[in-house]
């Protein structure tokens, strides 16, 4: 049917990408042994692109983001692979240089605005801090700029809010403040780790809209990490699906939703309830993927998904499928779609 070209490891940085990750491996040393949280992760992000990274809790998405910024605990985490940002190999960079990149060229916002802001520091000061550090402003100048930033994220009465503490703001406003803080130095890349998960649905929409607006203005690329497929469908251009530390499928958003290739992706999309639709099997209950996500201490041999895969073959149990390029802009890690597989899914 369709041929696949194996993706060459160590592929040189795509000239359009500002961030290129190749074969990222992250392991944690725990008392009960080593845990492989990320197992061969590849990614390219171009300037101003919005890329989604989707997966369930514990699949390694947050760990990946933190690894990019070097935020993982140095003693407990072993990070390997290549992370190229504008021709700099981030994993080899000395800490002093990383400090300059964080908050400045690459920023990150987090899931819980309640706990992600320092409760004893004024909002304005927290935003100003980034400006003082990276843009060489004085604290007075930075605080003025902070008011501007608060205005940009549509927080009313910014001159007053600048002197407030986080507990006086609502969840949505806190997240806006976080965004203001992250975008204050106009980074080239924003890592957004579940930015709307902790917010009400209506606020979610507002926040996403704000982020996309600012992205266009500031020319920032966004890596949107979430478990919410709906969010991806609305906001991202390209999407990566992650399972047990690996990317199992990567595609343009429209392609993924229209024609998923990996059994896991199919399962994910199939299990999203749709109002009024009849389920394929004719039953009245939701289709679910049988089984549970494997413990990272005890990953299955071969393809990590094979115990739950309806189309698992012998080779799936023995060998891990490589990430293969399958049509331009389509990558899948599945034996079904490579030449080695015997059974090709006709759909």
């Amino acid at each position: 049917m369709v041929c696949a070209t194996p993706w060459i490891r160590g592929w040189a940085m795509n000239s359009d990408s500002i961030l290129s990750i190749r074969d990222l491996q992250v392991s944690f040393k725990t008392f009960d042994g080593d845990v492989r949280a990320v197992n061969g992760f590849n990614l390219d992000i171009g300037a101003s692109e919005t890329v989604g990274l989707v997966g369930e809790s514990g699949c390694g998405k947050s760990v990946t983001a933190k690894a990019i910024l070097g935020l993982l605990p140095k003693k407990a985490a072993m990070v390997d692979g290549q992370i190229l940002f504008r021709n700099q190999e981030l994993l080899q960079l000395p800490e002093k240089e990383m400090l300059r990149i964080r908050g400045n060229d690459i920023s990150m916002i987090f899931q819980e605005p309640m706990t992600s802001l320092n409760p004893v520091m004024k909002i304005g000061d927290q935003i100003a801090e980034a400006l003082v550090l990276h843009q060489d402003l004085s604290w007075t100048q930075a605080r003025k700029k902070a008011i501007e930033m608060l205005d940009r994220v549509h927080i009313p009465s910014p001159e007053v809010r600048v002197g407030n503490y986080p507990h006086s703001l609502s969840g949505g406003m806190r997240q806006r403040a976080m965004i203001a803080m992250a975008l204050s130095c106009q980074p080239a890349l924003l890592l957004a780790d579940e930015p709307t998960t902790a917010l009400d649905v209506t606020i979610q929409a507002q926040i996403m809209e704000l982020m996309l607006q600012l992205q266009t203005k500031l020319n920032t690329a966004i890596l949107l990490i979430t478990h919410d497929l709906g969010l991806i469908a609305e906001s991202a251009e390209r999407v990566l699906v992650m399972y047990a530390g690996r990317v199992v499928e990567e595609a343009m958003v429209a392609d993924l939703f229209h024609d998923p290739l990996h059994p896991y992706t199919k399962g994910l999309l199939g299990s999203v309830p749709v109002l009024g639709a009849k389920f394929k099997s004719g039953s009245k209950s939701l289709d679910e993927i049988p089984g549970v996500v494997p413990s990272l201490f005890n990953l299955p041999d071969g393809c990590a998904f094979h115990p739950r895969c309806p189309k698992a073959m012998d080779i799936c149990r023995k060998e891990m499928p490589p990430q293969t390029l399958f049509e331009p802009d389509r990558k899948v890690s599945c034996w079904l779609t490579t030449e080695k597989g015997v059974d090709h899914d006709a759909a």
């Binding site: 369930e56 809790s57 514990g58 299990s271 939701l286 679910e288 993927i289 089984g291 549970v292 996500v293 494997p294 413990s295 990272l296 201490f297 005890n298 739950r308």
Partner: protein, 296 residues
């Protein structure tokens, strides 16, 4: 939709026994706690077998050998009345053990029921008990023990009672705090909804959960009790000579500090080691059994 858990537990385990098993395993991995435990065991054994380890009367004066430095015949030397210090320390261990266990037991016997009742039933009982506890806690603990000794008098029994009473308010507070947090749990509400009597709820559901922080704090308090008793003894208002108590021995040895410092040094080391043992063990217990239980 697939489960959100990344960690696959083999089966849903009952909280009760496995929690203890895990706790004990974790405790044994903690080297400091194990050292503490060993110290305590040595302490207990030496106190129990004191008559065998040191046959003879540790209180009998032997003035010819007064204030001798440590030697082969007297491993830790002799005190001002010629008595063997090592023997007195061994027997002193019995005294310290008695006071420690007695006062902690007192604290539990009075403190736990009061805390349970106060926390569970609330209302006027709670208010009264709380105000009483507040008042007792307004006194620095050692000062409170001193005041009680001033009232009751000196000696082993009174020292035990004073130290015991000084520990009651703390026990009440811990118990009550624990009860308050458990009381709101759904399973307590469920038990009540089914019609279980309060007394049964208290004993079956609440008490076992209270025991965890109580055990941790009691271990630490055992050390404190020994320090308190020794302090009272040192000042001369605790256990009286000739009964060997480490603090009292320190107090009497104080006058000979220049000529024979060993008389005061060794009892102090004994106190230090035993209290250290209880602290190590107590800390280890706290880390091993649920650290979330919210106590000092």
């Amino acid at each position: 939709m697939a489960s959100q858990n990344t960690e696959l537990l083999p089966a849903a385990e009952a909280v009760g026994s496995s929690q203890w098993q895990r706790g004990v395993a974790k405790l044994l991995r903690n080297r400091a706690a194990v050292v503490g435990g060993i110290i305590i065991v040595i302490f207990l054994l030496s106190a129990l077998f004191a008559p065998i380890l040191y046959p003879g009367n540790p209180n009998a004066p032997n003035l010819i050998h007064s204030l001798e430095r440590p030697s082969a015949s007297h491993l830790l030397g002799t005190d001002q009345l010629g008595r063997d210090i090592l023997g007195r320390i061994l027997y002193g261990g019995r005294v310290s053990l008695t006071i420690a266990l007695g006062s902690v037991a007192m604290g539990m016997i009075f403190g736990i029921p009061l805390g349970l009742v106060s926390g569970y039933f609330g209302g006027k009982t709670d208010f009264l008990v709380q105000r009483l506890t507040d008042i007792m806690l307004s006194f620095p603990p050692f000062i409170l023990a001193l005041a009680l000794v001033a009232v009751l008098g000196v000696g082993l029994k009174n020292t035990l009672i004073s130290v015991g009473i000084a520990g009651i308010p703390h026990t009440i507070r811990i118990t009550r705090g624990c009860v308050l947090s458990i009381r709101e749990q759904v399973y307590v509400e469920a038990a009540r909804a089914v019609g279980t009597r309060d007394s049964v709820i208290l004993v079956r559901h609440i008490l076992p959960n209270v025991m965890v922080p109580i055990i941790v704090n009691s271990t630490l308090f055992l050390g404190m009790a020994i320090l308190f008793a020794a302090g009272l003894g040192f000042l001369g208002v605790g256990i009286q000579p000739p009964t060997p108590e480490w603090g009292t021995m320190l107090g009497s040895g104080r006058s000979y500090l220049f000529a024979a410092p060993h008389v005061a040094t060794f009892p102090g080391i004994a106190i230090f080691l035993v209290v250290l043992g209880f602290n190590l063990l107590g800390d280890g217990l706290r880390d091993a059994l649920d650290p979330r239980m919210g106590y000092e």
